[in-house]
């Protein structure tokens, strides 16, 4: 394995990890806060991509997709939260999960109804469409953008969690919801804000991934399980956990694909199973006990 190959693979792994991170962070924090797995998270990713594509087509620019996709996903998430989820707080975790499972079916057919069954394309913006030379290797500029975007967002989210009031409320809520509520922190509002933010990030992931992974009905299912694995492995509820989990899975998938091809098919499931058995609270567990 020469150094050029290694560099390429590292970049590939990092890029895939950033995509996974964008998807996983919303799911992870929601899971840590509300003990709730939103199986329709992939649907938000898909909606973000399709809405972004529609906006980009109308405006003739990729950046329109970035502007339109995340809010659309967030809006959908908000409607779901206010209309359904909040009412089901008493119903128990399993019911909430089941409802989101039903939403997957609704989501995929809605997308098919509006945009049809064929694949759509969201080309990378022309300023990022070319390739760059890094240390003697040719690498797509757009993927470097994905890496940069992911890292930047991770930093912003980290600062948000550590430095803002909302962030403090979220951290408190994840640590100990009952205590936080009793201290008068408006946990409800914090949860709602975070939930919508998570949805927006999923929609953003959809737009960002589109030039690499294509847009088509069914893309939600494709990304759901890898995202769940990242959340589980990294540890639900913590930003750093989602980041670390995404790095691990992204690198494992990328290197595994070429180093152990026969095994790579079910490797990530094996990784998840091992993580659950050896360290079920994740690599970086949230401090409270679930």
């Amino acid at each position: 394995m020469d150094s050029g190959f290694l560099l390429l693979q590292l970049l590939n792994g990092l890029q895939f990890a950033m995509l996974l991170f964008l998807l996983a962070v919303g799911l992870s924090v929601v899971l840590g806060m509300m003990n709730f797995i939103n199986l329709a998270h992939g649907t938000l990713y898909m909606v973000g991509a399709f809405v972004g594509f529609a906006a980009a087509e109308r405006a003739g620019s990729f950046w329109a997709a970035l502007v339109a996709g995340p809010p659309a996903a967030a809006a959908l998430g908000a409607v779901f939260y206010a209309g359904l989820l909040r009412r089901m707080q008493q119903a128990g975790a399993m019911k909430q999960v089941l409802v989101t499972f039903g939403l997957i079916f609704v989501g995929i057919d809605t997308v098919r109804l509006i945009w049809g069954d064929y694949e759509q394309t969201l080309p990378a913006p022309s300023v990022l469409a070319g390739s760059v030379h890094i240390l003697g290797q040719v690498y797509p500029a757009y993927r470097l953008f994905v890496i940069a975007l992911g890292l930047m967002l991770a930093l912003i989210l980290h600062l948000g969690l550590e430095r803002t009031r909302l962030g403090a409320a979220v951290r408190a809520g994840v640590d100990d919801r009952v205590m936080a509520a009793s201290l008068g922190l408006d946990i409800e509002r914090a949860f709602f804000a975070v939930f919508c933010l998570g949805c927006a990030l999923a929609g953003l992931a959809g737009v960002v991934a589109a030039p690499v992974l294509e847009i088509y009905p069914g893309m939600d299912m494709a990304i759901l399980i890898p995202t769940l694995i990242v959340v589980v492995v990294g540890g639900p509820g913590r930003l750093a956990g989602a980041f670390l989990g995404a790095l691990l899975i992204g690198m494992a998938e990328t290197f595994g694909a070429v180093l152990v091809p026969d095994f790579s098919g079910f490797m990530i499931y094996a990784v998840m199973a091992l993580a659950l058995l050896l360290r079920p609270q994740g690599l970086l567990p949230a401090r409270h006990s679930s």
Binding site: Q120, S131, V212, G218, M219, A257, V258, P261
Partner: protein
């Protein structure tokens, strides 16, 4: 003793039943068993079904006074549903023949059922070699292609044109392996060397970065591959993005640069070589008429799947005509399908009775930039490519 009157009445009744003008008006029924609503093949299913119906309509829609009815049943991309729908079509709707499937996941179910129930089944797409090889059946005919049939001429062609080393990449499932094996055989026999083979797991995520990095490392003269649908678009684009395009020739079975994918691939597709049983650019009156009609109706270029659907309809119609519209004897129907030759969108077509696979021309072509569009230039045509029996004893 029956009175003369009653005997005459009985005779008259018997005669009218035998002549049966009422029976002659009963429609001929074709049952389509395709994934119309779920799974990755929905667009293909619709193209095949729409084109088949178009072909029947173009030919007149009726044979010997019997209208031809095309019934559609949705497999929802599940093999057990495919089987259930096939049973319904045969035992309840009493279709004269079945058409399906699109993908290899439903092939086993339909093949088995058709064989057991002795119902003619025409495969309009799925290319698994064994369906017209080791697992061939006297009742199952294929109007599309076998995987081997598409690719085996590409190896020798590429060696002849100066590409002596190649890397292979395809999904790790039967069709991927069959296509790579078919290419490999011809390529190595003609003197080429395969320097690397990779088979990514047949998963939904099409990030080929890791695999392309490996290919770059081994520096082949060409890459041969098989992908269809969104992964195909991803591969073509990523091949350019990772800088392989300048140094390595990308060649593939033609689905990689299908009309369904070209809009997404854009300029990245320029220069890619394809080998397939159909190209929209085929310069023959039958194809031109077909493309014109399809484009007017559906506002996009007809793909190879639509062409296969159309040709299937044409073959069925020709067979029905040769039988004078009589479909009661299914074995005769199969024989008729063996006996007819049609000029389809792809050229001259007929079904080989030894394998039940279609005999067709195979085209080698290249994607070229034409103004602000990308279209195809046909480089070569290998006429009447026929599969050897390869395990089939018909």
């Amino acid at each position: 003793m029956i009175s003369t009157y009653r005997a005459a009445a009985v005779a008259a009744l018997a005669a009218s039943l035998a002549a049966g003008p009422a029976l002659a008006e009963e429609p001929i029924k074709i049952g389509l068993v395709l994934p119309f609503s779920a799974g990755p093949y929905v667009p293909l299913a619709n193209e095949i079904a729409d084109s088949l119906a178009m072909a029947i309509a173009d030919a007149g829609g009726a044979v010997a006074g019997r209208r031809i009815e095309v019934l559609r049943e949705d497999t929802t991309h599940k093999p057990d549903v495919a089987q259930a729908k096939a049973k319904k079509l045969v035992f309840e709707d009493k279709v004269d023949m079945l058409v399906g499937p699109v993908g290899s996941n439903e092939l086993t179910a339909l093949l088995d059922f058709a064989n057991q129930s002795k119902t003619p089944l025409l495969i309009p797409n799925a290319g698994d070699n064994e369906a017209t090889g080791e697992r061939c059946s006297p009742w199952v005919l294929r109007t599309s292609f076998s995987n081997d049939q598409i690719v085996r001429e590409m190896g020798p062609w590429m060696v002849k044109h100066g590409y002596k080393t190649a890397a292979l990449i395809a999904f790790d499932y039967a069709a991927g392996h069959q296509q790579m094996d078919g290419f490999k055989r011809g390529f190595t026999q003609a003197g080429g060397t395969i320097v690397n083979e990779q088979y990514p797991p047949f998963g939904p995520i099409s990030d080929f970065g890791p695999y392309l990095a490996k290919i770059k490392e081994v520096k082949p003269a060409a890459v041969f591959t098989f992908f269809a649908g969104p992964p195909a678009t991803a591969l073509v684009k990523q091949f350019t993005e990772f800088g392989l395009k300048d140094q390595i020739k990308l060649a593939a079975s033609g689905w990689l640069i299908s009309p369904l994918n070209l809009p997404g691939e854009g300029d990245a597709a320029v220069g890619v070589l394809g080998i397939l049983n159909y190209v929209p650019a085929i310069d023959a009156p039958e194809n031109k008429a077909f493309q014109a009609e399809f484009q007017e109706k559906y506002h996009r270029i007809a793909s190879e799947f639509a062409a296969q659907g159309y040709d299937t309809g044409k073959l069925i119609f020709a067979a029905l005509q040769s039988l004078g519209g009589k479909t009661a004897d299914k074995a005769a129907l199969v024989k008729a399908l063996h006996s007819v030759t049609v000029k389809g969108t792809r050229g001259a077509l007929r079904i080989d009775p030894k394998t039940n696979n279609i005999i067709q021309d195979i085209y080698i072509y290249e994607a070229r930039k034409n103004g602000d569009r990308v279209d195809f230039a046909i480089l070569d045509k290998i006429p009447a490519v026929q599969d050897p029996p390869n395990g089939c004893n018909l």
